[in-house]
Assembly symmetry: C2
Homo-oligomer: 340 residues x 2
């Protein structure tokens, strides 16, 4: 049913009906109520594409999905969707070819120009991120999940990676560990740099020299966790503790330790960062995994809020949120063997 027919049935003009439904003030309360009731009864809904054309709003926000193993992606999306569903705003997912860095910029560019979305969410930024510069230049509203060091102003939501890893590392030091290995995320990403800094600062604060041979970077996969942990554990003296970037990495470390006959929580301590997944929980691992924890789903939901605020006109400089991270100690951390 079109607006025209619907209005005719009500004996009103399309204008009034449109206004009544959109909540404009210049329509009497009585008519508004009647219009709303009849709309529900007759099932009238404005054609979304006509609305989009005339208002210039897309009613959607864009998310770019990387190709390589993004298991936290669906949690973030879940949170986003949860909050956005109530607002009648769509989520539009675009794929990104990780292999072609040029393609990424083009993709964002297309997304911004095409008018399909009102705003974009940028993930895993780098300190000087090209995407951020581009979106700013194009005037497309965007929220960064993470942060960037660039001069370009940007709204962001990030967790305190530096503080989380500093505390995790400090805790291991407190327990008596001196050789602490770190398996971090992809090199170059801001969050990896922040974690590196937290790690180094914790060491430095206690006068423990930084050993580059104990640090590795890469995607969050069980395989890399295993390989890196394995190669670290083959060093002499071997590390007595690990700080790991993700749950998958932790799985790999557990395997590596086990494969070398080392008992986690006694001969090797592990702390990982847990984004909180319904399907893989730190508490259930054996031994249960000490972790810095921050819900990816909650971040997604909050990101939706922030994007909405951005679109409502709140200035970019005000939309910046840093979340503290919990440190939850479980069985995988203990004093190193020699100091027991």
């Amino acid at each position: 049913m079109k607006l025209r027919e619907f209005a005719q049935q009500l004996g009103l003009s399309p204008t009034t009906v449109s206004r009544a439904l959109s909540g404009y003030p210049e329509v009497s309360e009585k008519t508004r109520k009647r219009v709303a009731e009849e709309a529900a009864r007759l099932g009238y809904r404005p054609n979304i594409n006509a609305v989009r054309l005339v208002t210039g709003r897309a009613g959607a926000i864009g998310v770019v999905m990387g190709r390589s193993g993004e298991f936290h992606f669906s949690e973030f999306m879940g949170g986003l969707a949860e909050r956005l569903g109530a607002e009648d705003i769509d989520i539009l997912v675009s794929p990104m070819d990780d292999k072609d860095p040029k393609g990424e910029i083009q993709l964002y560019s297309r997304l911004a120009v095409s008018g399909r979305v009102d705003a974009v969410i940028v993930h895993s930024p780098e300190p000087n991120d090209e995407r951020i510069a581009l979106l700013h230049k194009l005037g497309m509203p965007f929220l960064v999940h993470g942060r960037s060091d660039t001069d370009v102003p940007h709204a962001w939501l990030d967790i305190d990676n530096e503080g989380a890893i500093r505390r995790a590392t400090s805790h291991l030091i407190d327990l008596g560990h001196r050789r602490i290995a770190m398996i971090n995320g992809r090199q170059g990403r801001t969050f990896s740099l922040h974690r590196d800094k937290g790690y180094r600062d914790a060491l430095q604060a206690r006068g423990i020299p930084f050993d580059p041979r104990l640090v590795a970077h890469g995607n969050f996969t069980d395989e890399l966790g295993f390989r890196f942990a394995r190669s670290f554990l083959e060093q002499t003296p071997r590390p007595t503790a690990f700080v790991a970037g993700s749950m998958m990495t932790a799985l790999g470390i557990y395997r590596a330790a086990r494969s070398m006959g080392l008992e986690i929580g006694r001969e090797v301590s592990v702390i990982a960062h847990d984004d909180v997944f319904p399907y893989l929980t730190a508490d259930n691992m054996v031994p249960s995994l000490s972790a810095t924890r921050s819900s990816m789903r909650a971040a997604g939901a909050r990101s939706a809020d922030l994007v909405l605020q951005l679109l409502a006109g709140r200035p970019t400089s005000e939309v910046q949120e840093l979340w503290p991270v919990e440190l939850i100690l479980r069985e995988s951390t203990a004093p190193p063997p020699q100091s027991k």
Copy 2:
């Protein structure tokens, strides 16, 4: 830039330009080329919302995302996006509240009526699925990822769950196992039923009685894998082998066995279904995990193809694809201890 201005600059009518860009035949090859070149040079792109309004096509397909731990979701989406990105078709994600079954139908209904999408993908159907009936009734094109037993005609892409589990179970029987436990997916889903059937048929074919105490259903989480495996292993006589529905379930089973001092691949055999994730690979588990394997990402990509075919007018009854499943034997399966 609008079509009008752009056409004027070229000295052509909007009609001709529109046709040239859309590839209609009634425009000379020479002009078409000129139009294409100038469009690229001047950066003209038709306003997508105007196109949507006038054509009535949304240029998007919808995917409904469940709330509970869908770690395969992002892989499927990745495949989908990969293929759809080239077609300039958007993917629209809607959240679903798992707790409210009524809400789900409403959601699909809204999606279909709202005109935001040209087609929908339905996941994890049930034998008599309400969503399928609804979409059929509303005349909204849709593809089911999985299958349904309903009379309602529907296009689908599914993997041969029954065959996969039959072969997995048969293989365990061949190795000498007699008490084989099965940790399946959520009760009521078609794929769970198919897997149950494969399991039972394999047992029956070899005259092994079916024992309901060896079968469990639930979400694919490590926690349920652990709990079920644990309770099965506490039975006497205990099962000597497991068939598991997912990688996460397998992780739980590994943990359970280990926690009881049982060695996987010697005292307990395990075969799981692997949807192929970049971040967690069966080959890298210790011991490496025997698995029935089928790529979720490939299924996503193919689903995109099929939806496109559906939209191009290919009849529903022709769009039905059943994929065979590989069985890959690794270290986690071996003859049971007593028969060694």
